[in-house]
């Protein structure tokens, strides 16, 4: 049984030292912003010192990449992923 509501998805950006900019490093699930920040520190920086972290709800991001081809191109910008579109998920496989 899936959780009816799961912890929302957050995108994580890390600036590993002063002078550089924040880079996208991945995502994680957290219930709220302060949890997301703490978890991002644990998972993506292993608590290094002097690192700056931004966490952003994935749903808040507006994205646009003109050279990505898409039959449903939306001029006003779109979400980061084809999300939350749920596909027929592939079931058991014969081998690894």
């Amino acid at each position: 049984m899936t959780d009816r509501r799961q912890w929302p998805l957050w995108e994580v950006f890390v600036r590993s030292k002063r002078g550089l900019s924040h880079n996208h490093v991945g995502s994680l699930h957290a219930a709220d912003a302060s949890m997301a920040l703490r978890m991002a520190r644990d998972v993506y920086t292993r608590r290094q010192e002097g690192v700056s972290i931004w966490v952003v709800p994935a749903a808040s991001i507006t994205a646009s990449s003109p050279d990505e081809k898409d039959p449903f191109f939306e001029p006003a910008g779109d979400k980061v992923y084809r999300h939350p579109t749920f596909y027929d998920l592939p079931e058991g496989v014969e081998h690894l």
Binding site: L28, A30, A31, M35, R38, D42, R47
Partner: protein, 258 residues
């Protein structure tokens, strides 16, 4: 090598073992959560905390060995002492229970450690002040983690509230022991080496009850207080099992290297 009983060691060594055993036994308990946490991210968080504590323990146990000057290593202390020579407080050896009970134990202990290390950073013993200086940042984080979860569980759902209150109630009897002091500690306090545990109680109480309040939880009133005695090597029944699991492999192969 198993060596002299803890009570016969030089006072500073005994003190280092008290703090080191606290950290070691709690790290051992947290290690039981690997692959069992409520969410993958939390598995990482709990293990991070356990690693920090283990790091503190290793420095403190090694320090005790240097002061004793009988050649005992951190592993000799961890694996070759018997129950009555461990001097951790009983709070840290309590079983994990459910996640709420684990968080209650974390809240009580990390709030204590934070106050302790803040003062220990001024110790005239350079190793103790060094451990404390490094650990302050770590335990700040541990305490923040525990307080955050206490709030979420206390003020989350009915079930989480019930479980969190149960965790608080179950572990409250072990809190008093954190603030008991004795002659050994007082002598070291006078020498500028140790921290007077009894002096931490008030601030601890303020901090913890404020978190409990925010979490809509009640601090148990007039409940039973455990007799304690951890600093004198008196533990609870759970402790023997914990040691058996921790020490068995090492003890089976006398003198082996790993």
């Amino acid at each position: 090598m198993s060596g002299a009983p803890t009570a016969q060691l030089p006072p500073v060594a005994q003190y280092a073992l008290r703090l080191g055993d606290d950290a070691l036994i709690l790290a051992q308990r947290l290690g039981e959560w690997a692959a069992n946490a409520p969410e993958l991210e939390e598995d990482v968080a709990l293990t991070n905390i356990a690693l920090d504590l283990l790091g503190q323990a290793r420095v403190l146990l090694t320090h005790a060995g240097k002061i004793e000057a009988a050649g005992r290593t951190e592993d000799d202390f961890a694996f070759l002492r018997d129950e009555r020579d461990f001097v951790n407080v009983q709070l840290v050896e309590q079983p994990n229970g459910d996640f709420a009970q684990t968080i209650a134990r974390q809240l009580f202990f990390t709030a204590y450690q934070r106050l302790l290390y803040a003062r220990l950073a001024d110790s005239v013993d350079p190793t103790l002040s060094g451990v404390a200086g490094k650990a302050i940042k770590e335990v700040d984080y541990h305490e923040d983690h525990a307080a955050g979860w206490t709030r979420r569980l206390g003020d989350g759902t009915e079930e989480s509230h019930r479980r969190m209150q149960a965790g608080v109630d179950r572990l409250w009897p072990y809190v008093d022991e954190l603030f008991r002091t004795d002659q050994l500690e007082q002598r070291l306090v006078a020498e500028g080496i140790a921290v007077d545990a009894s002096g931490l109680r008030e601030e601890w109480h303020k901090r913890v009850t404020s978190v409990l309040d925010e979490a809509t939880l009640a601090a148990p009133e007039g409940s039973w207080t455990a007799p304690g005695g951890g600093r004198r090597g008196l533990h609870t029944e759970a402790f023997g099992y914990l040691l058996a699991e921790m020490q068995h492999l090492h003890r089976t192969h006398q003198g082996a290297r790993w």
